[in-house]
């Protein structure tokens, strides 16, 4: 996978689903938590509405990804201090350019420079929605994180996003092996082939030829998403994470890990308004401890333990 001998930072990205589920809060807090054990660069990749800086308690930095795209400034030069030790921030832009407007070559250049950033952990906060540029960015991550809340709209969005994510990866992998358009064409002919859902599509592709099956098995073996359930209020909410994980595994055939949950806390928005990072303002709160557990789980691959 890695092209050079240089030590690479672990890339973690959060994306998908619905706006307002708390992606930026979870990511900012995760970044702060990781900064206690290594050098972190956070990239606010929400190109339409960058707001990660708010969760870190600072004003919008002057330099942004706009400088990378429009003035060709190297990515590493755009990282600014967040005011928190070990935590650098590379902010997005607001209004000037959307994820849709980025050209393929620019995107590749961006990915290459992200991979080369000098940090132990590189965190990318992506906007909501299922645009393929968002999905492609998530796919470069070593840990793909999806944040959900215990609400039907968020869960439905997440399934939809997961389908798109896996679909795009599947198409990419098969394309790389010379099976260009195979996934798209098979899906287009789904009525003729009797494919009713996503799982059946994958099964049908595997049945096409032993080689295709092998490619899917080999290349997608490590494909895994990390689920984080935010705004949990009850034990049942916490359990919803287990259920969603199970559905991902059983129904979509996608390896999902329930990496953590974070309790609902009214103080999150208060800390944002007061320009104090939540983890600094309430280090001993349930939420802060949940973030710490999430950090450990993400790094170790452990999951939420069922306690009932």
């Amino acid at each position: 996978m890695s092209s050079g001998p240089e030590k690479k930072g672990v890339i973690m990205a959060v994306g998908g689903g619905k706006g307002g589920v708390g992606k930026s809060f979870v990511m900012a807090s995760l970044g702060m938590s990781l900064a206690r054990q290594g050098r972190v660069v956070m990239i606010d990749g929400d190109l339409g509405g960058a707001n990660l800086h708010n969760f870190l308690g600072i004003s919008r930095p002057a330099s942004s990804l706009t400088d990378f795209f429009e003035r060709k400034v190297p990515l590493a030069d755009l990282v600014v201090s967040s005011g928190i030790a070990n935590l650098g921030l590379l902010t997005g832009m607001v209004g000037t350019i959307g994820a849709e407007a980025i050209k393929h070559a620019q995107k590749q250049k961006l990915f290459n420079q992200i991979r080369k950033l000098d940090a132990d952990y590189i965190l990318i906060d992506l906007g909501a929605g299922t645009h393929f540029n968002t999905i492609d960015t998530l796919l470069i991550a070593d840990k793909m994180i999806i944040v959900i809340t215990p609400e039907i709209v968020s869960i439905e969005n997440m399934y939809n996003f997961l389908r798109n994510l896996y679909f795009r990866r599947l198409g990419g992998v098969l394309s790389d092996h010379g099976y260009r358009e195979l996934v798209v064409n098979t899906w287009r002919d789904r009525d003729v082939l009797g494919i009713a859902n996503f799982r059946e599509l994958v099964d049908c592709l595997k049945a096409l030829s032993p080689e295709v099956e092998m490619i899917i098995e080999e290349e997608l073996r490590d494909f895994a998403v990390h689920l984080v359930l935010n705004k949990a209020r009850t034990n049942q909410d916490i359990m919803t994470g287990n259920s969603v994980k199970s559905v991902c595994v059983k129904f979509f055939g996608v390896n999902a890990l329930y990496s953590g949950y974070v309790e609902h806390d009214e103080l999150v928005s208060r800390s944002v308004n007061q320009r104090t990072p939540y983890l600094t303002a309430y280090p001993a709160s349930r939420c802060s401890r949940a973030i710490e557990r999430l950090t450990v789980n993400l790094l170790s691959g452990q999951q939420v333990k069922v306690t009932r």
């Binding site: 215990p150 039907i152 869960i155 009713a196 259920s243 199970s246 595994v249 059983k250 069922v306 009932r308």
Partner: protein, 176 residues
């Protein structure tokens, strides 16, 4: 783990690694049943693709995997079971403490008992504590005790008879 390879699909059905112990199998089975017995937030959003029949089929497969794995563990870990069995066969008089002891020996959390038997946890706690004052009238309490005993694979009649004897004695003494 070699002897477990043929059971891979069943461990996977319960979303467990191949090296999982019976404790974990038991817990996962309860969890899977809970997830798929009723429509939940997680399954509602895919209801058009994952209907009532699919869910029932899946439950059947979960149950089958659990039965097969239970059988596997019975065969491969007879030591633990037989010790407990030998011990429980010597108990002829049950109070809450005895039930709790057996439960601990079997490594079954109280929450699991509550989930499987549908006896509210609060009542199970009171049964184990011999807290007769907090237990419901005899006919209900007896039912709870029977279910609890069954879950621990004890003789339900024997357990209920000796437990209820103490319960009635307390009632008489306390004039209710």
């Amino acid at each position: 783990m070699k002897d477990r390879a043929p059971f891979k699909a069943h461990f996977e059905m319960l979303e467990l690694p191949l090296e999982a112990g019976f404790d974990e199998v038991h817990k996962a089975w309860l969890l899977m049943k809970e997830i798929y017995s009723t429509e939940s937030l997680a399954t509602m959003s895919i209801a058009d693709e994952f209907g009532e029949d699919d869910r029932r089929r899946l439950l059947g497969r979960i149950e089958e995997s659990y039965q097969i794995l239970s059988e596997f563990f019975r065969e491969h870990q007879p030591a633990v079971d037989s010790t407990v069995l030998k011990l429980t066969s010597t108990i002829t008089d049950y109070d809450g403490n005895a039930l709790r002891t057996v439960r601990h020996l079997l490594h079954i959390p109280l929450d699991d008992v509550a989930m499987s038997t549908r006896v509210p946890r609060k009542h199970l706690e009171n049964i184990e504590a011999d807290n007769y004052a907090a237990l419901p009238v005899a006919v209900y309490t007896r039912g709870f005790v029977v279910n609890y005993a069954k879950h621990l694979a004890l003789d339900p009649d024997l357990v209920a008879r000796s437990y209820m004897e103490k319960y009635r004695k307390w009632q008489e003494e306390n004039g209710s």
